[in-house]
Protein backbone atom coordinates (compact mmCIF):
# COMPACT_ATOMS: atom_id res chain seq x y z
CA UNK A 1 0.00 0.00 0.00
CA UNK A 2 2.70 2.42 1.05
CA UNK A 3 4.60 1.78 -2.14
CA UNK A 4 1.61 2.39 -4.32
CA UNK A 5 0.94 5.62 -2.51
CA UNK A 6 4.45 6.99 -2.83
CA UNK A 7 4.58 6.05 -6.49
CA UNK A 8 1.40 7.87 -7.19
CA UNK A 9 2.45 10.85 -5.16
CA UNK A 10 5.62 11.47 -7.11
CA UNK A 11 4.83 13.10 -10.45
CA UNK A 12 8.44 13.07 -11.65
CA UNK A 13 8.90 9.32 -11.87
CA UNK A 14 6.81 7.83 -14.60
CA UNK A 15 4.23 5.60 -13.01
CA UNK A 16 3.78 2.30 -14.85
CA UNK A 17 0.25 1.36 -15.73
CA UNK A 18 -1.37 -1.05 -13.31
CA UNK A 19 -2.26 -3.32 -16.19
CA UNK A 20 -1.14 -3.34 -19.77
CA UNK A 21 -2.58 -5.95 -22.10
CA UNK A 22 -1.67 -6.10 -25.77
CA UNK A 23 -3.32 -8.32 -28.35
CA UNK A 24 -3.74 -11.21 -25.99
CA UNK A 25 -5.29 -14.43 -27.26
CA UNK A 26 -5.99 -17.52 -25.23
CA UNK A 27 -7.64 -20.86 -25.91
CA UNK A 28 -8.26 -24.01 -23.92
CA UNK A 29 -7.49 -26.92 -26.20
CA UNK A 30 -9.22 -25.69 -29.35
CA UNK A 31 -11.83 -23.48 -27.77
CA UNK A 32 -10.96 -19.86 -28.23
CA UNK A 33 -11.68 -18.04 -24.99
CA UNK A 34 -10.13 -14.62 -25.49
CA UNK A 35 -9.35 -12.96 -28.79
CA UNK A 36 -7.19 -9.89 -29.34
CA UNK A 37 -7.75 -8.38 -25.95
CA UNK A 38 -5.98 -5.06 -25.48
CA UNK A 39 -6.38 -2.48 -22.76
CA UNK A 40 -4.52 -0.34 -20.28
CA UNK A 41 -5.56 0.39 -16.75
CA UNK A 42 -3.99 3.21 -14.75
CA UNK A 43 -3.10 2.78 -11.12
CA UNK A 44 -5.83 3.84 -8.76
CA UNK A 45 -8.59 2.56 -11.04
CA UNK A 46 -11.61 0.60 -9.89
CA UNK A 47 -12.59 -1.64 -12.79
CA UNK A 48 -15.67 -3.80 -12.90
CA UNK A 49 -15.65 -6.70 -15.34
CA UNK A 50 -18.99 -8.05 -16.49
CA UNK A 51 -19.92 -10.60 -19.09
CA UNK A 52 -21.79 -13.85 -19.60
CA UNK A 53 -20.75 -17.10 -17.96
CA UNK A 54 -18.05 -18.74 -19.99
CA UNK A 55 -17.21 -15.41 -21.57
CA UNK A 56 -13.63 -15.49 -20.33
CA UNK A 57 -13.76 -13.19 -17.29
CA UNK A 58 -12.05 -15.59 -14.94
CA UNK A 59 -9.61 -16.66 -17.66
CA UNK A 60 -8.62 -13.03 -18.15
CA UNK A 61 -7.97 -12.58 -14.44
CA UNK A 62 -6.00 -15.82 -14.30
CA UNK A 63 -3.87 -14.55 -17.18
CA UNK A 64 -3.27 -11.29 -15.35
CA UNK A 65 -2.20 -13.23 -12.25
CA UNK A 66 0.22 -15.40 -14.21
CA UNK A 67 -1.73 -18.56 -13.43
CA UNK A 68 -2.15 -19.00 -17.18
CA UNK A 69 0.09 -17.94 -20.03
CA UNK A 70 -1.37 -16.28 -23.12
CA UNK A 71 -1.05 -18.00 -26.50
CA UNK A 72 -0.17 -14.68 -28.04
CA UNK A 73 0.22 -11.12 -26.89
CA UNK A 74 1.84 -9.33 -23.99
CA UNK A 75 0.76 -8.71 -20.42
CA UNK A 76 2.45 -6.28 -18.02
CA UNK A 77 1.40 -5.83 -14.43
CA UNK A 78 2.86 -2.71 -12.80
CA UNK A 79 5.41 -2.76 -15.59
CA UNK A 80 6.49 -6.34 -14.84
CA UNK A 81 5.69 -9.80 -16.14
CA UNK A 82 2.66 -11.27 -14.29
CA UNK A 83 4.73 -13.84 -12.42
CA UNK A 84 7.25 -11.25 -11.29
CA UNK A 85 4.51 -8.93 -10.10
CA UNK A 86 2.51 -11.61 -8.35
CA UNK A 87 3.87 -10.66 -4.93
CA UNK A 88 2.44 -7.19 -5.39
CA UNK A 89 -1.13 -8.25 -6.11
CA UNK A 90 -3.91 -9.69 -3.99
CA UNK A 91 -6.44 -12.23 -5.20
CA UNK A 92 -9.83 -13.42 -4.03
CA UNK A 93 -10.68 -16.48 -6.11
CA UNK A 94 -14.13 -17.48 -7.24
CA UNK A 95 -16.13 -19.86 -5.06
CA UNK A 96 -13.66 -22.00 -3.22
CA UNK A 97 -14.12 -25.71 -3.61
CA UNK A 98 -11.57 -26.59 -0.99
CA UNK A 99 -11.75 -29.53 1.33
CA UNK A 100 -14.21 -28.96 4.15
CA UNK A 101 -12.36 -31.23 6.51
CA UNK A 102 -8.95 -29.60 6.05
CA UNK A 103 -7.67 -28.77 9.54
CA UNK A 104 -6.89 -25.08 9.22
CA UNK A 105 -8.16 -22.20 11.32
CA UNK A 106 -9.54 -18.90 10.05
CA UNK A 107 -6.43 -17.18 11.35
CA UNK A 108 -4.05 -19.51 9.52
CA UNK A 109 -5.91 -18.90 6.27
CA UNK A 110 -5.56 -15.16 6.75
CA UNK A 111 -1.86 -15.65 7.51
CA UNK A 112 -1.44 -17.11 4.03
CA UNK A 113 -1.85 -13.58 2.71
CA UNK A 114 1.39 -12.65 4.44
CA UNK A 115 3.35 -15.26 2.50
CA UNK A 116 4.05 -12.73 -0.24
CA UNK A 117 6.17 -10.77 2.25
CA UNK A 118 7.33 -13.52 4.60
CA UNK A 119 10.67 -15.25 4.13
CA UNK A 120 10.77 -18.90 3.12
CA UNK A 121 11.58 -21.15 6.04
CA UNK A 122 10.96 -18.45 8.66
CA UNK A 123 8.06 -18.04 11.08
CA UNK A 124 5.54 -15.23 10.73
CA UNK A 125 6.53 -12.01 12.47
CA UNK A 126 4.78 -9.75 14.97
CA UNK A 127 4.03 -7.40 12.11
CA UNK A 128 2.30 -10.21 10.22
CA UNK A 129 0.18 -10.98 13.26
CA UNK A 130 -0.83 -7.36 13.61
CA UNK A 131 -1.83 -7.18 9.95
CA UNK A 132 -3.86 -10.38 10.18
CA UNK A 133 -5.75 -9.04 13.20
CA UNK A 134 -6.45 -5.82 11.35
CA UNK A 135 -7.85 -7.45 8.21
CA UNK A 136 -9.91 -10.01 10.11
CA UNK A 137 -11.46 -7.21 12.16
CA UNK A 138 -12.16 -5.33 8.97
CA UNK A 139 -14.27 -8.15 7.56
CA UNK A 140 -15.82 -8.96 10.94
CA UNK A 141 -14.21 -12.37 11.39
CA UNK A 142 -11.72 -11.68 14.19
CA UNK A 143 -13.90 -13.29 16.83
CA UNK A 144 -14.11 -16.44 14.70
CA UNK A 145 -10.36 -16.61 14.22
CA UNK A 146 -9.89 -19.91 16.06
CA UNK A 147 -12.67 -21.72 14.21
CA UNK A 148 -11.94 -24.24 11.51
CA UNK A 149 -12.54 -22.70 8.11
CA UNK A 150 -14.50 -25.77 6.99
CA UNK A 151 -17.08 -25.19 9.71
CA UNK A 152 -18.01 -21.71 8.45
CA UNK A 153 -20.88 -20.78 6.16
CA UNK A 154 -20.13 -19.85 2.56
CA UNK A 155 -20.46 -16.15 3.28
CA UNK A 156 -18.21 -16.26 6.31
CA UNK A 157 -15.63 -18.18 4.32
CA UNK A 158 -15.74 -15.59 1.58
CA UNK A 159 -15.01 -12.89 4.16
CA UNK A 160 -11.96 -14.78 5.32
CA UNK A 161 -10.70 -15.08 1.74
CA UNK A 162 -11.21 -11.35 1.30
CA UNK A 163 -9.24 -10.77 4.51
CA UNK A 164 -6.50 -13.03 3.20
CA UNK A 165 -6.22 -11.00 0.01
CA UNK A 166 -6.12 -7.75 2.01
CA UNK A 167 -3.37 -9.19 4.18
CA UNK A 168 -1.06 -9.29 1.16
CA UNK A 169 -0.93 -5.46 1.24
CA UNK A 170 -1.56 -5.49 -2.49
CA UNK A 171 -0.99 -2.72 -4.99
CA UNK A 172 -3.59 -4.32 -7.20
CA UNK A 173 -6.47 -6.35 -5.83
CA UNK A 174 -8.34 -8.87 -8.00
CA UNK A 175 -11.70 -10.19 -6.85
CA UNK A 176 -13.59 -12.87 -8.77
CA UNK A 177 -17.27 -12.59 -7.89
CA UNK A 178 -16.55 -11.75 -4.27
CA UNK A 179 -20.19 -11.34 -3.32
CA UNK A 180 -21.43 -14.59 -4.85
CA UNK A 181 -22.22 -16.23 -1.53
CA UNK A 182 -22.16 -13.47 1.08
CA UNK A 183 -25.22 -12.02 2.74
CA UNK A 184 -26.57 -8.77 1.23
CA UNK A 185 -25.61 -6.80 4.30
CA UNK A 186 -21.96 -7.66 3.91
CA UNK A 187 -22.12 -7.02 0.19
CA UNK A 188 -22.66 -3.32 0.74
CA UNK A 189 -20.11 -3.45 3.50
CA UNK A 190 -17.55 -5.07 1.22
CA UNK A 191 -17.93 -2.43 -1.45
CA UNK A 192 -17.50 0.27 1.19
CA UNK A 193 -14.28 -1.42 2.26
CA UNK A 194 -13.17 -1.62 -1.36
CA UNK A 195 -14.03 2.00 -2.01
CA UNK A 196 -11.93 3.05 0.98
CA UNK A 197 -9.12 0.75 -0.13
CA UNK A 198 -9.27 2.14 -3.65
CA UNK A 199 -7.70 5.37 -2.41
CA UNK A 200 -4.40 3.51 -2.45
CA UNK A 201 -5.03 0.29 -4.34
CA UNK A 202 -6.09 -0.50 -7.88
CA UNK A 203 -9.08 -2.81 -7.81
CA UNK A 204 -10.46 -5.16 -10.43
CA UNK A 205 -13.72 -6.94 -9.67
CA UNK A 206 -15.57 -9.55 -11.67
CA UNK A 207 -19.22 -9.23 -10.84
CA UNK A 208 -22.72 -10.06 -11.91
CA UNK A 209 -24.27 -7.26 -9.96
CA UNK A 210 -24.75 -4.48 -12.43
CA UNK A 211 -26.19 -2.21 -9.76
CA UNK A 212 -22.97 -2.33 -7.83
CA UNK A 213 -21.01 -1.75 -11.01
CA UNK A 214 -22.60 1.58 -11.68
CA UNK A 215 -22.45 3.00 -8.20
CA UNK A 216 -18.96 2.04 -7.03
CA UNK A 217 -16.75 1.49 -10.01
CA UNK A 218 -14.80 4.02 -11.96
CA UNK A 219 -14.77 2.06 -15.18
CA UNK A 220 -16.35 -1.00 -16.66
CA UNK A 221 -15.28 -3.65 -19.08
CA UNK A 222 -17.26 -6.40 -20.66
CA UNK A 223 -15.65 -9.69 -21.63
CA UNK A 224 -17.18 -12.11 -24.06
CA UNK A 225 -14.25 -13.47 -26.01
CA UNK A 226 -13.68 -9.85 -27.00
CA UNK A 227 -13.12 -7.06 -24.58
CA UNK A 228 -14.94 -3.76 -24.43
CA UNK A 229 -13.55 -1.18 -22.10
CA UNK A 230 -15.47 1.84 -21.00
CA UNK A 231 -13.96 4.63 -19.03
CA UNK A 232 -16.59 5.91 -16.67
CA UNK A 233 -19.09 3.67 -15.05
CA UNK A 234 -21.90 3.68 -17.59
CA UNK A 235 -22.84 0.39 -19.07
CA UNK A 236 -23.22 0.91 -22.75
CA UNK A 237 -25.74 -0.68 -25.03
CA UNK A 238 -22.84 -2.35 -26.81
CA UNK A 239 -21.77 -4.07 -23.62
CA UNK A 240 -25.20 -5.29 -22.78
CA UNK A 241 -25.67 -6.65 -26.26
CA UNK A 242 -22.38 -8.45 -26.05
CA UNK A 243 -22.75 -9.67 -22.53
CA UNK A 244 -26.28 -10.89 -22.70
CA UNK A 245 -27.45 -11.84 -26.13
CA UNK A 246 -31.04 -10.81 -25.62
CA UNK A 247 -31.77 -9.91 -22.03
CA UNK A 248 -31.64 -6.18 -22.60
CA UNK A 249 -35.26 -6.68 -21.89
CA UNK A 250 -34.61 -8.51 -18.70
CA UNK A 251 -32.41 -5.78 -17.35
CA UNK A 252 -34.85 -3.08 -18.35
CA UNK A 253 -37.68 -4.88 -16.59
CA UNK A 254 -35.82 -6.09 -13.57
CA UNK A 255 -33.89 -3.09 -12.41
CA UNK A 256 -34.22 -0.27 -14.88
CA UNK A 257 -32.89 2.40 -12.59
CA UNK A 258 -29.63 0.59 -12.14
CA UNK A 259 -28.63 0.52 -15.75
CA UNK A 260 -28.60 4.28 -15.80
CA UNK A 261 -25.67 6.03 -14.21
CA UNK A 262 -26.50 6.44 -10.57
CA UNK A 263 -25.46 9.23 -8.29
CA UNK A 264 -23.81 8.11 -5.14
CA UNK A 265 -25.28 8.98 -1.83
CA UNK A 266 -23.13 9.25 1.21
Amino acid sequence: MEQALSQNADPLTSVPDAIEVEEVCFSYERTEVLKNVSFRLKQGEFLGIIGPNGGGKTTLVRLLLGLLNPDRGKIRILGEAPNAASRRVGYVPQSMELSRSFPISVMDVAFMGRLARARMGKRYTREDEEKVRQVLEKVGMWEHRRKLIGKLSGGQKQRVFIARALATDPEILFLDEPTASVDPEFQVNLYDILEELNKQVTIIVITHDIGVVSSYMKSIACVNKHFIFHEGSQITQEMIDMAYQCPVDLIAHGMPHRVLPTHKEE
Binding site: L67, L98, F102, I104, F111, M112, A116, Q156, N189
Partner: protein, 297 residues
Amino acid sequence: MWDALQLEFMRHAVAAGLLVSLVCGVLGTLVVVNRIVFISGGIAHAAYGGIGLALYFGASPALGATLFSIAISMVMGVASIKSKERADTVIGVMWALGMALGIIFTELTPGYNVDLMSYLFGSILSVPGSDIWYMLCLNLVVLLFVFFFYKELLAMSYDEEFSFVVGIPVRALYFVLLGLISLSVVMIIRVVGLILVIALLTIPPFIAEKYTSSLGRMMVLASLLSMVFTLAGLWVSYQFNLASGATIIMVAGFAFFLSLAVDAVAGKRRQTADRRRPEDDHRRPKKQNKEIPTTDN
Protein backbone atom coordinates in the same frame (compact mmCIF):
# COMPACT_ATOMS: atom_id res chain seq x y z
CA MET B 1 5.90 -58.67 25.41
CA TRP B 2 8.97 -57.94 27.59
CA ASP B 3 10.50 -61.32 27.06
CA ALA B 4 10.01 -60.77 23.36
CA LEU B 5 12.10 -57.62 23.64
CA GLN B 6 15.04 -59.70 24.81
CA LEU B 7 15.32 -60.85 21.23
CA GLU B 8 17.38 -58.60 19.04
CA PHE B 9 15.16 -58.96 15.97
CA MET B 10 12.20 -57.92 18.10
CA ARG B 11 14.01 -54.79 19.31
CA HIS B 12 14.81 -53.96 15.71
CA ALA B 13 11.20 -54.57 14.76
CA VAL B 14 9.96 -52.17 17.44
CA ALA B 15 12.49 -49.50 16.46
CA ALA B 16 11.63 -49.88 12.78
CA GLY B 17 7.92 -49.75 13.61
CA LEU B 18 8.29 -46.53 15.58
CA LEU B 19 10.43 -44.84 12.93
CA VAL B 20 8.09 -45.87 10.14
CA SER B 21 5.15 -44.59 12.18
CA LEU B 22 6.73 -41.20 12.62
CA VAL B 23 7.36 -40.75 8.92
CA CYS B 24 3.93 -42.13 8.04
CA GLY B 25 2.20 -39.70 10.35
CA VAL B 26 4.04 -36.67 8.99
CA LEU B 27 4.21 -37.49 5.28
CA GLY B 28 0.90 -39.38 5.31
CA THR B 29 -0.78 -36.21 6.53
CA LEU B 30 0.62 -34.32 3.55
CA VAL B 31 -0.33 -37.19 1.22
CA VAL B 32 -3.91 -37.18 2.46
CA VAL B 33 -4.52 -33.42 2.45
CA ASN B 34 -2.82 -32.98 -0.92
CA ARG B 35 -4.82 -35.89 -2.31
CA ILE B 36 -1.80 -37.66 -3.72
CA VAL B 37 -2.69 -41.08 -2.37
CA PHE B 38 -2.91 -42.46 -5.88
CA ILE B 39 0.53 -41.15 -6.86
CA SER B 40 1.95 -42.62 -3.66
CA GLY B 41 0.42 -45.98 -4.54
CA GLY B 42 1.85 -45.68 -8.02
CA ILE B 43 5.31 -44.94 -6.67
CA ALA B 44 5.15 -47.90 -4.28
CA HIS B 45 4.18 -50.37 -6.97
CA ALA B 46 6.39 -49.02 -9.73
CA ALA B 47 9.31 -49.31 -7.30
CA TYR B 48 9.17 -53.03 -7.99
CA GLY B 49 10.59 -52.26 -11.43
CA GLY B 50 13.67 -50.88 -9.71
CA ILE B 51 14.08 -54.07 -7.71
CA GLY B 52 13.89 -56.16 -10.86
CA LEU B 53 16.45 -54.02 -12.65
CA ALA B 54 18.78 -54.04 -9.65
CA LEU B 55 18.60 -57.82 -9.37
CA TYR B 56 19.28 -58.25 -13.06
CA PHE B 57 22.30 -55.96 -13.04
CA GLY B 58 23.53 -57.32 -9.73
CA ALA B 59 23.00 -54.16 -7.67
CA SER B 60 21.38 -53.86 -4.28
CA PRO B 61 17.58 -54.17 -4.58
CA ALA B 62 17.05 -51.43 -1.96
CA LEU B 63 19.23 -49.03 -3.95
CA GLY B 64 17.48 -49.98 -7.18
CA ALA B 65 14.05 -49.46 -5.67
CA THR B 66 15.09 -46.12 -4.21
CA LEU B 67 16.53 -44.65 -7.39
CA PHE B 68 13.80 -46.06 -9.59
CA SER B 69 10.99 -44.84 -7.36
CA ILE B 70 12.46 -41.33 -7.18
CA ALA B 71 12.73 -41.22 -10.97
CA ILE B 72 9.21 -42.51 -11.42
CA SER B 73 7.80 -40.08 -8.84
CA MET B 74 9.28 -37.15 -10.76
CA VAL B 75 7.74 -38.40 -14.01
CA MET B 76 4.38 -38.85 -12.27
CA GLY B 77 4.73 -35.36 -10.81
CA VAL B 78 5.28 -33.88 -14.26
CA ALA B 79 2.34 -35.88 -15.63
CA SER B 80 0.06 -34.68 -12.84
CA ILE B 81 0.94 -31.07 -13.64
CA LYS B 82 1.06 -31.25 -17.45
CA SER B 83 -2.10 -33.22 -18.08
CA LYS B 84 -4.25 -32.54 -15.04
CA GLU B 85 -7.31 -34.10 -16.65
CA ARG B 86 -5.73 -37.48 -17.35
CA ALA B 87 -3.11 -37.52 -14.62
CA ASP B 88 -4.66 -40.51 -12.89
CA THR B 89 -4.61 -42.50 -16.12
CA VAL B 90 -0.95 -41.72 -16.75
CA ILE B 91 -0.09 -42.67 -13.18
CA GLY B 92 -2.07 -45.89 -13.53
CA VAL B 93 -0.16 -46.80 -16.68
CA MET B 94 3.20 -46.23 -15.01
CA TRP B 95 2.06 -48.14 -11.94
CA ALA B 96 1.40 -51.19 -14.12
CA LEU B 97 4.48 -50.78 -16.31
CA GLY B 98 6.76 -50.51 -13.29
CA MET B 99 5.45 -53.75 -11.85
CA ALA B 100 5.61 -55.53 -15.20
CA LEU B 101 9.21 -54.42 -15.64
CA GLY B 102 10.03 -55.77 -12.21
CA ILE B 103 8.46 -59.13 -12.88
CA ILE B 104 10.19 -59.58 -16.23
CA PHE B 105 13.63 -58.64 -14.96
CA THR B 106 13.44 -60.76 -11.83
CA GLU B 107 12.45 -63.65 -14.08
CA LEU B 108 15.35 -62.98 -16.42
CA THR B 109 17.79 -62.92 -13.53
CA PRO B 110 19.66 -66.23 -13.39
CA GLY B 111 19.36 -68.02 -10.04
CA TYR B 112 16.74 -65.61 -8.82
CA ASN B 113 15.69 -66.56 -5.32
CA VAL B 114 14.63 -63.37 -3.59
CA ASP B 115 11.52 -63.83 -1.54
CA LEU B 116 8.79 -62.00 -3.42
CA MET B 117 6.44 -62.45 -0.49
CA SER B 118 8.66 -60.36 1.75
CA TYR B 119 8.38 -57.57 -0.79
CA LEU B 120 4.62 -57.84 -0.90
CA PHE B 121 4.03 -58.13 2.83
CA GLY B 122 7.17 -56.73 4.36
CA SER B 123 9.51 -58.29 6.82
CA ILE B 124 9.56 -56.20 9.95
CA LEU B 125 10.97 -59.13 11.91
CA SER B 126 14.13 -59.22 9.83
CA VAL B 127 15.06 -55.56 9.59
CA PRO B 128 18.84 -55.30 9.90
CA GLY B 129 20.52 -52.71 12.10
CA SER B 130 21.84 -50.79 9.09
CA ASP B 131 18.27 -50.22 7.93
CA ILE B 132 17.40 -48.72 11.31
CA TRP B 133 20.12 -46.12 10.84
CA TYR B 134 18.92 -45.36 7.35
CA MET B 135 15.36 -44.90 8.67
CA LEU B 136 16.64 -42.61 11.40
CA CYS B 137 18.37 -40.38 8.87
CA LEU B 138 15.35 -40.29 6.60
CA ASN B 139 13.11 -39.37 9.53
CA LEU B 140 15.43 -36.51 10.36
CA VAL B 141 15.38 -35.20 6.80
CA VAL B 142 11.59 -35.39 6.63
CA LEU B 143 11.13 -33.70 10.01
CA LEU B 144 13.55 -30.88 9.18
CA PHE B 145 11.89 -30.31 5.82
CA VAL B 146 8.44 -30.09 7.39
CA PHE B 147 9.68 -27.97 10.29
CA PHE B 148 11.36 -25.35 8.12
CA PHE B 149 8.75 -25.15 5.39
CA TYR B 150 5.68 -25.72 7.52
CA LYS B 151 3.87 -22.53 6.58
CA GLU B 152 4.63 -22.99 2.90
CA LEU B 153 3.53 -26.63 2.96
CA LEU B 154 0.36 -25.68 4.81
CA ALA B 155 -0.44 -22.98 2.28
CA MET B 156 0.32 -25.21 -0.69
CA SER B 157 -1.80 -28.04 0.70
CA TYR B 158 -4.77 -25.83 1.46
CA ASP B 159 -4.80 -23.61 -1.62
CA GLU B 160 -2.16 -24.30 -4.22
CA GLU B 161 -3.33 -21.62 -6.59
CA PHE B 162 -3.23 -18.83 -4.04
CA SER B 163 0.17 -20.01 -2.86
CA PHE B 164 1.45 -19.80 -6.40
CA VAL B 165 0.08 -16.29 -6.79
CA VAL B 166 1.82 -15.03 -3.64
CA GLY B 167 5.10 -16.39 -4.96
CA ILE B 168 5.63 -19.68 -3.13
CA PRO B 169 7.61 -22.13 -5.27
CA VAL B 170 4.80 -24.68 -5.18
CA ARG B 171 6.27 -26.77 -7.99
CA ALA B 172 9.59 -27.18 -6.24
CA LEU B 173 7.92 -28.02 -2.92
CA TYR B 174 5.67 -30.52 -4.65
CA PHE B 175 8.59 -32.34 -6.25
CA VAL B 176 10.59 -32.39 -3.03
CA LEU B 177 7.53 -33.82 -1.31
CA LEU B 178 7.20 -36.51 -3.99
CA GLY B 179 10.88 -37.32 -3.64
CA LEU B 180 10.57 -37.72 0.13
CA ILE B 181 7.47 -39.85 -0.35
CA SER B 182 9.32 -42.21 -2.66
CA LEU B 183 12.23 -42.54 -0.24
CA SER B 184 9.82 -43.24 2.60
CA VAL B 185 7.67 -45.60 0.59
CA VAL B 186 10.69 -47.80 -0.13
CA MET B 187 11.46 -47.77 3.57
CA ILE B 188 7.90 -48.55 4.63
CA ILE B 189 7.76 -51.41 2.12
CA ARG B 190 10.49 -53.16 4.10
CA VAL B 191 8.33 -53.06 7.19
CA VAL B 192 4.75 -53.65 6.09
CA GLY B 193 5.20 -54.49 2.43
CA LEU B 194 4.06 -53.13 -0.87
CA ILE B 195 0.40 -53.96 -0.51
CA LEU B 196 0.04 -52.35 2.88
CA VAL B 197 2.10 -49.22 2.37
CA ILE B 198 -0.88 -47.12 1.44
CA ALA B 199 -2.87 -48.27 4.44
CA LEU B 200 -0.21 -47.02 6.80
CA LEU B 201 0.14 -43.73 4.92
CA THR B 202 -3.57 -42.99 4.88
CA ILE B 203 -5.44 -44.58 7.79
CA PRO B 204 -3.71 -42.76 10.67
CA PRO B 205 -3.96 -39.30 9.03
CA PHE B 206 -7.55 -39.96 8.04
CA ILE B 207 -8.52 -40.64 11.65
CA ALA B 208 -6.33 -37.84 12.99
CA GLU B 209 -7.82 -35.23 10.67
CA LYS B 210 -11.19 -35.52 12.37
CA TYR B 211 -9.90 -34.71 15.81
CA THR B 212 -7.41 -31.94 15.10
CA SER B 213 -7.57 -28.27 14.24
CA SER B 214 -4.22 -27.78 12.56
CA LEU B 215 -1.99 -29.60 10.13
CA GLY B 216 0.80 -29.83 12.71
CA ARG B 217 -1.43 -31.47 15.31
CA MET B 218 -2.76 -33.78 12.63
CA MET B 219 0.81 -34.93 11.95
CA VAL B 220 1.49 -35.52 15.64
CA LEU B 221 -1.73 -37.43 16.25
CA ALA B 222 -1.33 -39.46 13.06
CA SER B 223 2.20 -40.44 14.12
CA LEU B 224 1.00 -41.46 17.58
CA LEU B 225 -1.88 -43.49 16.14
CA SER B 226 0.47 -45.14 13.71
CA MET B 227 2.79 -46.08 16.57
CA VAL B 228 -0.09 -47.60 18.50
CA PHE B 229 -1.22 -49.60 15.48
CA THR B 230 2.28 -50.81 14.70
CA LEU B 231 3.13 -51.86 18.25
CA ALA B 232 -0.29 -53.42 18.85
CA GLY B 233 -0.03 -55.24 15.53
CA LEU B 234 3.43 -56.51 16.38
CA TRP B 235 2.25 -57.75 19.76
CA VAL B 236 -0.79 -59.51 18.31
CA SER B 237 1.27 -61.10 15.57
CA TYR B 238 3.81 -62.29 18.17
CA GLN B 239 1.13 -63.72 20.45
CA PHE B 240 -0.80 -65.52 17.76
CA ASN B 241 2.05 -66.16 15.38
CA LEU B 242 0.55 -64.21 12.49
CA ALA B 243 2.21 -62.33 9.63
CA SER B 244 3.29 -59.10 11.28
CA GLY B 245 2.84 -56.64 8.37
CA ALA B 246 -0.67 -57.86 7.68
CA THR B 247 -1.58 -57.86 11.38
CA ILE B 248 -0.44 -54.23 11.75
CA ILE B 249 -2.72 -53.24 8.92
CA MET B 250 -5.60 -55.26 10.35
CA VAL B 251 -5.27 -53.29 13.57
CA ALA B 252 -5.21 -50.01 11.64
CA GLY B 253 -8.18 -51.10 9.54
CA PHE B 254 -10.10 -52.04 12.67
CA ALA B 255 -9.41 -48.58 14.13
CA PHE B 256 -10.51 -47.03 10.85
CA PHE B 257 -13.94 -48.65 10.96
CA LEU B 258 -14.21 -48.02 14.67
CA SER B 259 -13.71 -44.30 14.07
CA LEU B 260 -16.33 -44.34 11.32
CA ALA B 261 -18.77 -46.04 13.66
CA VAL B 262 -18.05 -43.54 16.43
CA ASP B 263 -18.66 -40.71 13.95
CA ALA B 264 -21.96 -42.17 12.84
CA VAL B 265 -23.19 -42.55 16.41
CA ALA B 266 -21.96 -39.09 17.42
CA GLY B 267 -23.54 -37.56 14.33
CA LYS B 268 -26.87 -39.12 15.10
CA ARG B 269 -26.75 -38.03 18.71
CA ARG B 270 -25.92 -34.49 17.63
CA GLN B 271 -28.86 -34.46 15.23
CA THR B 272 -31.36 -35.47 17.88
CA ALA B 273 -29.87 -32.98 20.31
CA ASP B 274 -30.22 -30.24 17.72
CA ARG B 275 -33.80 -31.15 17.06
CA ARG B 276 -34.64 -30.94 20.71
CA ARG B 277 -33.29 -27.47 21.31
CA PRO B 278 -33.20 -25.46 18.10
CA GLU B 279 -33.01 -22.13 19.95
CA ASP B 280 -29.44 -22.52 21.05
CA ASP B 281 -28.32 -24.23 17.89
CA HIS B 282 -24.88 -23.07 16.97
CA ARG B 283 -23.90 -25.82 14.65
CA ARG B 284 -26.06 -25.24 11.65
CA PRO B 285 -24.43 -22.45 9.71
CA LYS B 286 -27.49 -21.41 7.73
CA LYS B 287 -29.28 -20.18 10.78
CA GLN B 288 -26.26 -18.35 11.97
CA ASN B 289 -25.93 -16.21 8.90
CA LYS B 290 -28.27 -13.54 10.11
CA GLU B 291 -26.57 -13.09 13.41
CA ILE B 292 -23.17 -12.32 11.98
CA PRO B 293 -22.11 -8.96 13.30
CA THR B 294 -21.18 -6.79 10.40
CA THR B 295 -17.95 -4.96 10.80
CA ASP B 296 -16.62 -1.64 11.54
CA ASN B 297 -18.76 1.24 10.49
